[in-house]
């Protein structure tokens, strides 16, 4: 078995060897990271990602408000459409983080799994005195409550992002159709009413996401 593996390795191209070297280097750093981060790392990771995400939202909010002002001030439909398109891109990028398969949501799932495992393990752990064990369980339960709450608030924010993106795409389609039948004036009216919706959604988003409390914070 070992002999045949050695033969395989001898025939591996240089790129694979480099890959294996990188793997060794990386596995070392992963091991170190795991050693130093402690048991609560998935919760910490989720908390950190959530904070980073929260930090990026005021920036988006500013861009949305600026876009809305630009759209309001313009009489050029093409420019307004380009601005809506840019906005859709910004909203889409942030939705990517909180989508169900996005990094923040995935970390939320991982954090909750970790908490559940810890609670299960602690309830069967005999290393500690009953009061110590109860204290640890209590702390993990508190983290569980906070993580579930953050997840729920993230769900609300996700729904708001989805709604905003859908509003943008539907209005953009309608504007496109209006332009095809040379109704530029009507298109401008739609654009103007859209900016109010955008502002409202943006304020709502800012409030929702700003209000999320990362677990353990």
């Amino acid at each position: 078995m070992l002999r045949s593996l050695q033969v395989v390795f001898a025939r591996l191209p240089f790129a694979t060897a480099a890959l294996v070297a990188a793997a060794l280097a990386l596995s070392g750093s992963f091991a170190r990271a795991q050693d130093s981060s402690g048991a609560a790392s998935p919760v910490d990771e989720f908390s950190q990602q959530l904070e980073d995400f929260q930090k990026s939202v005021p920036d988006l909010n500013k861009k949305i408000q600026e876009s809305a002002t630009t759209i309001d001030a313009t009489t050029d439909v093409a420019k307004a459409r380009a601005e809506i398109d840019r906005l859709r891109d910004e909203v889409s990028t942030l939705l990517g983080a909180v989508a169900d398969n996005g990094p923040v949501s995935q970390l939320g799932v991982k954090a909750l799994d970790h908490i559940h495992q810890k609670l299960k393990a602690l309830s069967a752990d005999t290393r500690f005195k009953p009061e110590e064990r109860q204290y640890l369980i209590g702390q993990w339960q508190q983290l569980e409550t906070q993580t579930v709450a953050a997840d729920k608030e993230l769900d609300d924010a996700r729904a708001q992002f989805v709604s905003l993106l859908q509003t943008l795409q539907q209005n953009e389609d309608f504007i496109g159709e209006l332009l095809e039948i040379r109704q530029a004036e009507r298109a401008l009216e739609v654009i103007r009413s859209l900016t109010q919706n955008i502002r409202d959604a943006s304020n709502q988003l800012n409030k929702l996401i700003g209000g999320i409390k990362p677990p353990g914070a």
Partner: protein
């Protein structure tokens, strides 16, 4: 001998991790979203659904939004005799959301597009 074999396997496992990381870190290109709603509404929908061949996680509260690469995907469900059945095609466009509702009470589950395509190529596909 045993230790050596374990090390070799460890090495191979690490190589797999690196390859996966490299693939995952490649620029993902254009992406859009698929929103899947399930009816009847349940806290957790256990019916197995697949986007192309990727099995989806159970859907919470009847709604999930998934970032996907631009293109046409197949939503599949468990059919009869353990085979996968195509429920519908979903066209994903850049920065847009394509919504589909899946009735999970039926066997196989049934797809209902929010919008279907206007041209012949997408007439039976869900579009945004």
């Amino acid at each position: 001998m045993g230790v050596m074999t374990a090390r070799v396997f460890g090495l191979l496992a690490s190589a797999v991790v690196v390859v996966t990381a490299i693939v995952a870190c490649r620029p993902s290109g254009d992406a859009g979203y698929v929103e899947i709603k399930t009816v009847p509404l349940a806290p957790l929908t256990q019916t197995a659904l697949y986007l192309d061949s990727t099995k989806l996680a159970p859907i919470k509260k009847g709604d999930t939004i998934l970032r996907q690469p631009v293109g046409t995907l197949e939503l599949q469900g468990d059919g009869f005799a353990g085979t996968l059945t195509q429920l519908c095609k979903i066209v994903v466009k850049k920065d847009r959301i394509t919504t589909v509702t899946v009735s999970v009470l039926e066997r196989p589950p049934r797809c209902q597009c929010r919008f279907t395509g206007a041209d012949a190529a997408t007439a039976h596909a869900c579009v945004s």
